[in-house]
Symmetry: C2
Subunit: 310 residues, 2 copies
């Protein structure tokens, strides 16, 4: 059974992309709401803390990419929902742990108190642990997935590899350890970007493709797309932070970037970063050249990412 996706007219303009993204975010949120224990389930404080960060207005980039990757190869988008939600749970756990006093020590996240500020440090550590663990539960739970066992195991393996010591946690470790250094070598900056954020974004697209039944060449193309937009996302996010600071401070900050700051704009300057983001977006679109209009959501997401900074 294949559920048709109304894509022909949609996603042609940024305006349409916005309603597409909103619709997908709502679907993802409804599904996560179903997949995660309720706040009234014992122990209530743990489940409240998990839900507090999970439903705090994230962009849902990773799960949206998973659904769009599934569609691009003609798969049933709904079948990718559990894995998509699992990726968002892992992303959320990583934010909770990154914000901890021993890590980035951030009191705020998405305009709200960070998890440890709202629930205390111990519960924040545990809520992160629980979200990470629950992500694997959700993928493996047969009740929530019609996907064949081999594919689901492949997803567990790929997600664990992308999220673990050779992926996201590795990137965060290097990020933390290079803090306070006067200069950060470019290979290290690149390692941080490709591992801390890139690995999970790349895997989000791949997981959608696995569910959708991609063949080898489609998988290669979508992997390349995922790698390019992963890096483009990191650069544009860093740029938006900077441009936001400019707006807030009322002056150009590009000239007085802190030494050793681990961002692309800090290393290459603002204009060069904008150029690089645009190049990456174009490479991402190139990687999709063999796909028909079912890959339009992926194309629009790539374009939108770069449009935000212009």
């Amino acid at each position: 059974m294949k559920i048709p996706f109304q894509h022909s007219a949609a996603c042609r303009t940024a305006m349409d992309l916005k309603s597409y993204l909103k619709e997908r975010r709502d679907l993802i949120d409804r599904t996560m709401n179903r997949l995660v224990p309720r706040e009234q389930d014992y122990p209530e404080k743990l489940h409240s803390a998990m839900r507090y960060s999970l439903f705090s207005g994230g962009k849902r980039l990773r799960p949206v990419l998973t659904l769009a990757g599934c569609e691009a190869v003609g798969g049933v988008m709904e079948h990718a929902l559990p894995a998509a939600c699992a990726l968002e749970m892992i992303h959320t756990y990583s934010l909770i742990h990154d914000d901890l006093p021993a890590m980035d020590n951030d009191d705020m996240r998405r305009g709200m108190a960070s998890n440890h500020k709202a629930f205390g440090e111990a519960v924040a550590v545990l809520a992160g642990d629980a979200l990470l663990t629950h992500a694997f539960y959700v993928i493996a739970d047969s009740a929530s997935s019609p996907i064949q066992d081999g594919k689901r195991l492949q997803m567990v393996r790929e997600i664990a590899a992308a999220a673990g010591c050779m992926g996201m946690v590795g990137g965060q470790t290097v990020d933390i350890l290079s803090e306070g250094k006067d200069t950060v070598d470019l290979p290290i900056l690149e390692y941080i970007h490709t591992h801390k954020t890139g690995a999970l974004i790349r895997t989000a697209v791949r997981v959608g493709a696995i569910v959708g039944g991609a063949d080898k060449r489609e998988m290669q193309d979508l992997t390349e797309y995922g790698e390019k937009i992963g890096l483009a996302f990191q650069i544009t996010d860093d740029l938006l932070d900077l441009l936001g600071d400019e707006k807030r401070l009322g002056k150009q900050v590009g000239s007085d970037l802190k030494k050793g700051e681990k961002t692309y704009p800090a290393a290459y300057g603002i204009q060069e970063s904008k150029n690089r983001a645009r190049e990456l977006m174009e490479s991402a679109l190139d990687a999709l050249s063999r796909f028909d209009d079912r890959a339009d959501p992926l194309r629009e997401i790539a374009r939108y990412m770069v449009e935000r900074i212009n």
Copy 2:
């Protein structure tokens, strides 16, 4: 292909059990050494921290139970090794996070500096995250397991359920939140015991049984065995802590147990706890009554647990 286990003469006495346990521990350690990135793999500090706690002389109770559970139903013990090691990785991550300043704030573990004392708090959080993630990688990685996909998915699901918010993390949350309270209700004490330690021990036996191809009745019996020894282990461990204190302090401490302490001896007294541990051991042996001598290692482990306190 079935690799026969030399069990007929072995495991009849505590002496034999010791050499059995040593042999199994060595096998588990060699396998974990192969399954976890090396210390020289980048980022070195993260992998060193993971290995520091993983190879710090744990009893390996959980993986030993997995291997013994597999054997009890006639399975090939070696096939259960990846899952057994994954359970030890999860147990180790939980110890690292439990020791954190925001949690139990323990500077020492197994006679060594705890992970955050040796590597700093940030790396300790990340090493725990990485061990948890890597555990799922190891189960899902086809290169390290000859077990069919459906069984491996079932293991991911069972282990995630036992380790997550409805299992171990749930138990640790309640434990942390009831700290400092004058009295702890018995249902809460029981919840902590069955979730914080019981869930993973029960699952360790079950996972071995899954690999070994247990039928429904065998699975029920082994699950009951796992539940009984999980609780027996908790009680005997609490008793050994107490008796160790007595030895160190040179006086009986049973009479001046701290109010609100969340241990079985604190709630029921030392003699009643010894009785309860013995009853649980006997129930665990009863649960194995339908098994032949391939379940002798499980029997000996149950007996040994209780013998330690007499």
